[in-house]
Symmetry: C2
Subunit: 313 residues, 2 copies
Amino acid sequence: MKNIKYYIGIDIGGTNIKTGVIDENGAIISEHSIPTGAHRQQEEVLNDIILSVKASIHGANVNPEDIAGAGMGTPGMIDIEKGIVIYNNNLGWRNFAVSSEMSKAIGMKVRLENDADAAALGEVIAGSAKGAKSAMIITLGTGVGSGYVVNGKIVQGCEFGHMVIDYGGRECTCGRKGCFESYCSATGLINMTKELISKNPDSILSLTAKKEGTVSGRTVFDAAVKGDNEASELIDKYISYLSCGLVNIINGLQPEVISLGGGIAKQGERLLTPLRDKVYMEIYEGIKFPKIVACTLGYKAGLIGAAMSAREI
Amino acid sequence: MKNIKYYIGIDIGGTNIKTGVIDENGAIISEHSIPTGAHRQQEEVLNDIILSVKASIHGANVNPEDIAGAGMGTPGMIDIEKGIVIYNNNLGWRNFAVSSEMSKAIGMKVRLENDADAAALGEVIAGSAKGAKSAMIITLGTGVGSGYVVNGKIVQGCEFGHMVIDYGGRECTCGRKGCFESYCSATGLINMTKELISKNPDSILSLTAKKEGTVSGRTVFDAAVKGDNEASELIDKYISYLSCGLVNIINGLQPEVISLGGGIAKQGERLLTPLRDKVYMEIYEGIKFPKIVACTLGYKAGLIGAAMSAREI
């Protein structure tokens, strides 16, 4: 009988570093987490990652010989082929050959991967896009992230957050105007919500924001439920922009599945049902309507995907 | 010594059908052309294609055993796996199993391919993007077409003409508003040129159009050379839109080369030099600036690419 292979997953976040042993089908066998302590020297952080990996291996209770490799997901600029973090602002890493350091310490090959790409791979292997031949994972968070997986492999460097959908429109952090991200990130929606509040400080929306103590991506959805018509209109507008960006991607690449993650995707069908209607109206004739769903794995996507990216070694 | 392999290329255009024998490196050994006669029955057209292929083979003077397959590029909706033209409005073909018919007639496997994708592959194998690991070929013609080739293979169904770059903008034939195509196709530029002429019927631009007898994609470039400032401004605007769409694609997919084809690309450096400057200003930090060039193969791209797509069989 052929032994099942296992892979180590490492997901380096700004707050926590998660590690785990994942089987070749994407099931988590064991996991472990440590605070990142991003202010520390890189050697200290690295030592903690190594300890966490060893704890995961210990907890998995599998034959170490069946562990075929490790994958490490990290934000920032990386050189995948060389296994180098070029820069990571959260951790203060610069030109850090983390793959070879990790590799020496844990005695196996360590693949470096972009964290958003790793999360996309996780969703394709074990989550919302399981089994899809091609899937685009779009994260509606602080920014708009994207990860594209075709035939079980990450398409490197696929990033649609900075696609202009409104020529000369809202200013984006990247210097362009009218980027998908400047409308459809949680930040974009929060900015548009704040603009609406400042126009009408006595609205249900304004009172909702006061009660919640802050304006978040949820605020406008909460106010709409309470009967604020302007809030409902802003949601419509948000969904129109989101549809616009997604249809661009669908017309362009024809993914079989689009999975939405990040804070805004937590609205579930309140977002997805009207979104599907708008997308359906707009896609190019003859193009197959993709499955549009919410991501299901949460933080586990990054862990599973990092591990599974090691299959590429 | 290993024999060189050859492939048959067939490019089905609305006016002419071109066939040829192409070697495995993309060099044309022989070629032949017939009028399409699109009004005729599909059997008549098919018979002519078969005769043309046989003439190409005859002209190539190679050992028929060294011909490894044939590829056929066609516009319209196709099913590549089944080798069926689902519909082709020019030819009036509906659910026509052209691959198996051709295959029976010429005694080898025949692969069907989208004609724009085939042309993109041709440019990568033997033209403007020769040797590029990844190349996006954008055709600025009646519409905006795109073909994406990664590691020598066509990425199926890649089409960025109907990517909205200006939310709520110019109406597009596809039903959306503000598509890349509605600004950057030759048709888009002609429409904008006509609008400018109607605003100022005594301008150098208007006189140029009268002299040329029609408004083409060239007209505004010709008038700018003669000193029409508004024409120069329209060219700037056109290049800004073009840069906008290209930067979206560059940020999204990071192709190594972008090759521009179609009528507008004939402007050469008058278009490319200012375009590169604008793209350079706008691309996302850290993304490698791609090579931006004009296509070099003309109609031969479709013939070579169709033949080379047969390598996938």
